[in-house]
C-alpha cells in the first residue's frame, strides 16, 4: 500500500493538486523517511506548482549558530493546577516540564511535519485501520535499563483505559480502544484501530501531549520523584507551585545535550513572568498569550516567535433551542462580524481569518477561499436573514463566557459589531471554574450562546470529533448532522489526497452553511526566547523539544 501511496503523492504534485510542502507533511504522516520524501520531490520535477488547500502562514525563521557547551537554562511557565503527573497532565506548565524528561513516538515540526523520535519508522497496513511502528534501538530509561516494546504497549494501554484518569483518553475515543495495541517483536508495536484513521501518527506524537512513553511498571506519582523518562534532561527536584530543576542526561540516545541543566520556574500569572523575561532572569517562555507578550516586542534582546496554530475561540450557538434553532439567525450573526477588525484590534493583526468551519488554515486539507468563500461583513444581508428568521427589528441575546486571555475582549467586540444588525448582546462573564463547572452543572456545554477556548490540535478530526460530531462529548452547540459525521469519518479513512481535499471541502461548506459556531480567527501562538539562547523551534505551542537547546557560542 505504501508504494501506491508514494506514486499517488507524486501524481498529486505533478497535477498541481498538492504543493511540495504538503507532500512533505503528508509523506511524514505516512512514515516516509526524509530520503524517501527527497526522492519523491525530485520525481515531481522542479516546478513548485500551485499551493493547494489553505496555505498556512510560515512560522518565523529561526537562525542559529554554534553552541556553547554547558550552562543552565531558566524557563518560565504558568503554575500547573495539579501535581506534576504525565498521566493526567492537561496544562502548559505541566506539559512543558514533563517534556524535558519524557519523549513521544513522533515529534512535530512547527508546520506539522512529523519527525521520528522514539519510533524511527511507521506505516499503515492494508488500510489506515492498522499501523505498525518500529521503535528506536538503544534507547535507555534514565535509570539505565533499556526501553522496550513492552513499555510502549503498557503506556497506551494506560492511556486508553476507560476506567482510568488519563487525560489522553478522550483523544482516543472511537479511534483506539484498550487492547488495540500489541507487541509484534522487541522493536515493533502494532496499533489496530476501531476505525480507519489516516492521521493516526499525530495521535502518538507530542501534539497529543498526554501520550509520553512511560516505563511499563510506572505508577502515578513516580514522575515527580525524578529519574523517569528517556529524554535529554533528568528531573532532579520538583517543588509544587514553585518549579523544578533538571540535569543533563549523559546516557541520552541522541546527540549529547548542550546544557548542564534546566531550571523551570512557575508563575501564578503571566505579568511577573514577562517582567522576569524583560529583566533577563529567564531564557525562554515557551507559551505566551498575545496581550502578555506585547511588552516584550519593544525589546531588542528578546526574540518573539509566532507560529500559526489550530488554537481558536468558537462562539457556539445552540442549534437545538430557540432562537438559535433558526439557521438564518446563525448565519445573520456570522455576516454581522467584521473579522478583520476583530483581529486588528484584539490581536494586532496577528491571527488568521476564521471562516466558520473547523478546518484551520494550518491543516493540509484546509479548503482555500475559492473552494469555500471567505465570509465577510454584510450588514444588509444579515438584516435580511434576521427578517427571514422572524426577528425583523432585531432581538436581544445573551452571551455567556469565561475570563480567559482574549475572550472577554472578543465578547465586547461582538457586542459592538452586532449592534449594527440590531442584535443587542447581553454579556455574562464567569470565572473559569464556574463556566466549566462539574458534574450536572457545566454551563459551557449548556448555555445557548457561549465562547470557549481550544488548544491547538494536529489533525482536523482531533479538533472536530469532540466538538462537532453527533456523539461529541463537548458538542456545546448540540449540532447533530449525520451528513457531516459521515464526511468527517470518510475523511479520516481516506488516503487519496484528491479525495481528502474534496471531502474536507464538502464538510467545510456544510459546516459553514449550518453555522453551529462563529469562528472569527485562528490564533498564532507565541514563544519568547532571550537573544543568545537557541536550538528551540518556534512551535507548536504545546510542544517543547529540549534536546537541541543551548547557549550560542
Amino acid at each position: 500500500m505504501i508504494e501506491d501511496y508514494r506514486i499517488h503523492l507524486v501524481e498529486e504534485v505533478r497535477a498541481g493538486r498538492m504543493s511540495r510542502r504538503d507532500l512533505i507533511r503528508r509523506g511524514s504522516v505516512y512514515g516516509l523517511s526524509f530520503s524517501a520524501i527527497g526522492t519523491l520531490l525530485s520525481a515531481c520535477g522542479s516546478d513548485p506548482s500551485k499551493p493547494s488547500g489553505g496555505t498556512p502562514a510560515q512560522s518565523d525563521e529561526v537562525k542559529e549558530g554554534a553552541f556553547r557547551k554547558g550552562g543552565t537554562a531558566r524557563i518560565g511557565n504558568i503554575t500547573p493546577a495539579g501535581d506534576l503527573e504525565p498521566l493526567t497532565m492537561n496544562d502548559g506548565g505541566t506539559v512543558m516540564t514533563v517534556q524535558l524528561a519524557c519523549e513521544y513516538l513522533c515529534f512535530p515540526d512547527p508546520d506539522l511535519t512529523l519527525k521520528p523520535r522514539l519510533a524511527t519508522e511507521w506505516s499503515p497496513g492494508a488500510s489506515p485501520k492498522e499501523w505498525s511502528l518500529t521503535l528506536r534501538e538503544g534507547v535507555k530509561w534514565q535509570d539505565g535499563s533499556p526501553m522496550t516494546a513492552d513499555d510502549v504497549v503498557a503506556s497506551f494501554q494506560r492511556y486508553t483505559d476507560p476506567k482510568g484518569t488519563a487525560s489522553a483518553l478522550s483523544s482516543f475515543t472511537g479511534i483506539l480502544s484498550k487492547g488495540g495495541v500489541e507487541k509484534v517483536d522487541d522493536s515493533t508495536v502494532r496499533f489496530t484501530l476501531d476505525r480507519a484513521y489516516a492521521d493516526f501518527p499525530y495521535l502518538v506524537s507530542a501534539l497529543n501531549y498526554a501520550t509520553p512513553i512511560l516505563p511499563k511498571d510506572y505508577e502515578p506519582g513516580d514522575f515527580r520523584k525524578g529519574g523517569v523518562g528517556t529524554g535529554a534532561y533528568v528531573l532532579e527536584q520538583y517543588t509544587s507551585k514553585r518549579g523544578a530543576t533538571f540535569r543533563r542526561n549523559d546516557g541520552y540516545w541522541g546527540e549529547a545535550p548542550h546544557l548542564d541543566g534546566v531550571e523551570v520556574t512557575y508563575y501564578g500569572e503571566a505579568a511577573p513572568m514577562v517582567l522576569a523575561m524583560q529583566g533577563g532572569n529567564l531564557e525562554m517562555i515557551p507559551g505566551l498569550g498575545f496581550k502578555d507578550a506585547q511588552s516584550l516586542r519593544s525589546q531588542d534582546d528578546i526574540q518573539l516567535f509566532s507560529n500559526p496554530s489550530s488554537s481558536y475561540r468558537p462562539v457556539h450557538l445552540r442549534v437545538d433551542t430557540a432562537p438559535f434553532d433558526k439557521k438564518e439567525l446563525r448565519q445573520a450573526l456570522a455576516l454581522g462580524l467584521d473579522r478583520e477588525a476583530i483581529i486588528g484590534s484584539l490581536l494586532g493583526g496577528t491571527a488568521e481569518l476564521g471562516n466558520d468551519h473547523a478546518f484551520a488554515p494550518i491543516f493540509p486539507v484546509s479548503p482555500d477561499g475559492e473552494a469555500v468563500p471567505q465570509r465577510e461583513q454584510d450588514i444588509e444581508g444579515a438584516k435580511r436573514l434576521l427578517g427571514e428568521a422572524g426577528h425583523e427589528g432585531g432581538l436581544q441575546l445573551e452571551l455567556q463566557t469565561l475570563q480567559y486571555e482574549d475572550i472577554p475582549q472578543l465578547a465586547v467586540l461582538l457586542k459592538e459589531q452586532l449592534k449594527a444588525i440590531g442584535v443587542d448582546l447581553k454579556l455574562n462573564l464567569m470565572t473559569q471554574e464556574a463556566y466549566f463547572g462539574s458534574g450536572d452543572n457545566q454551563p459551557w456545554l449548556e448555555v445557548p450562546m457561549g465562547i470557549v477556548y481550544w488548544a491547538s490540535r494536529g489533525a482536523p478530526s482531533q479538533l472536530i470529533a469532540p466538538a462537532y460530531l453527533s456523539d461529541g462529548v463537548w458538542n456545546s452547540a448540540h449540532w447533530k448532522n449525520p451528513e457531516f459525521d459521515q464526511l468527517v469519518q470518510d475523511l479520516d479513512a481516506e488516503v487519496d489526497e484528491g479525495k481528502r481535499t474534496q471531502l474536507a471541502r464538502d464538510a467545510a461548506t456544510l459546516m459553514q452553511d449550518e453555522t453551529p459556531a462563529l469562528i472569527p480567527y485562528w490564533l498564532k501562538e507565541l514563544r519568547a526566547i532571550q537573544q543568545g539562547f537557541q536550538g528551540v523551534a518556534p512551535g507548536p505551542n504545546v510542544v517543547l523539544d529540549p534536546a537541541r537547546m543551548g547557549f550560542a557560542a
Partner: protein
Amino acid sequence: MGRFVLRRLWLTALTLVLVSIIIFAVAEVLPGDPGRTVLGPYATQEQVDVLNREFGVDRPLPVRYADWVSDVVRGDWGTSYQLNEEVLPLVADRLGNSLLLGAFAFLLIVPLSIALGVYSALREGRWQDRTLSVAGLSMLALPEFVSGVVLIVLFAVTLEWFPVSSDVPSANPVDVIRQLTLPAIPLVFVLFGYIARMTRAGTIDALRSNYTRTATLKGLPRSAVIGRHVLRNALLPTITVVSVQVGYLVGGLVVIETLFNYPGIGKLTLDAAVGNDLPVLEACVLVTALLFALANLAADLLYGVLNPRVRLRGAG
C-alpha cells in the same frame, strides 16, 4: 492578667472551630471540584468522578468534616487533593515564608509610620505635616499591583539593583535585603498612610490634653513630656491598628506574592479556594486565623502594659 490571657485563648480556640466549620460550609457552594481542577476542562465527567472518589470528595460534607477534624487533632493534616502532597509541611513552609516577608515589612513600616506620625503631629498644620499627609494618602490610594510593577520595572528591570522575582532569602542579611526590599515597599505604601494618620491623630489629642499641659507647666523638659506622657497615650489606638494589619500582612499578600512570584501562603490559600482543595484551604485559613488571634492577643497585652486601667480591670 493570667485569667485574661486564658479567656482570650479559649475564645481563640472557639473562633478557629467556627472558622473551620464555615470554610467547609462555603465549599459546598464554591464552583468546580478538585477532580475537575486536576484533570482540566476536557476530561470526561466519568474520569473526574473516578478521581473525586479517590480523593473521597464524593462523600457528604459533614462526614468529610468529621474525618478531617479527627485527623487534625491527631496531628495528621491530610493530603492535598490537587498537589498530592502532605498539607502540614506545605503550609508550614509557605507560612514561614510569608511570616518572613511580613516581619521584614513590619520592621520597615512600624517605626517609620510612628516616627513620621508623631513628627506630623508636632508640626501640625505646617507644610511638613501637609506634605506627609498628602503623600500618605496618595500612597494609600495606589494599589499594590501598580506600585509593585513600577518598582520592578524601575529597580529590577532597568537599574537591576534587585531581582525581578523574589526568592526566599538565605540567612545572609544582604540576601534578605536583596530579596525582600522590593516586595516590602508596596506594603509600606499601603500601610504607612494609615498608621501614620492614626499616630498623628492620637498624638494631637494627647498634646491637647490636660495632663500634657500639667506636665509642661510643672516644668518637665519637652522630651520627657512627649516620651512619658504623650506617646504612651497616643500609641494606644495605633497598636490596635497595627495588630489588625498583622493578619493582612500574612494572609492577604496574594497580590504581592503573585507579582513577585514569592512562595507565600496568600497565593496558596487562593489556589486552594479556587480548586476546592479543602485540606489545604482549611490549614491555610486556620494558621492565618491563629496568627491573627495571636496578634490581637499581643496587642491586648501591650495595651495592658501601656494602660494600667486595662491591666487592673483584668486583674480585678
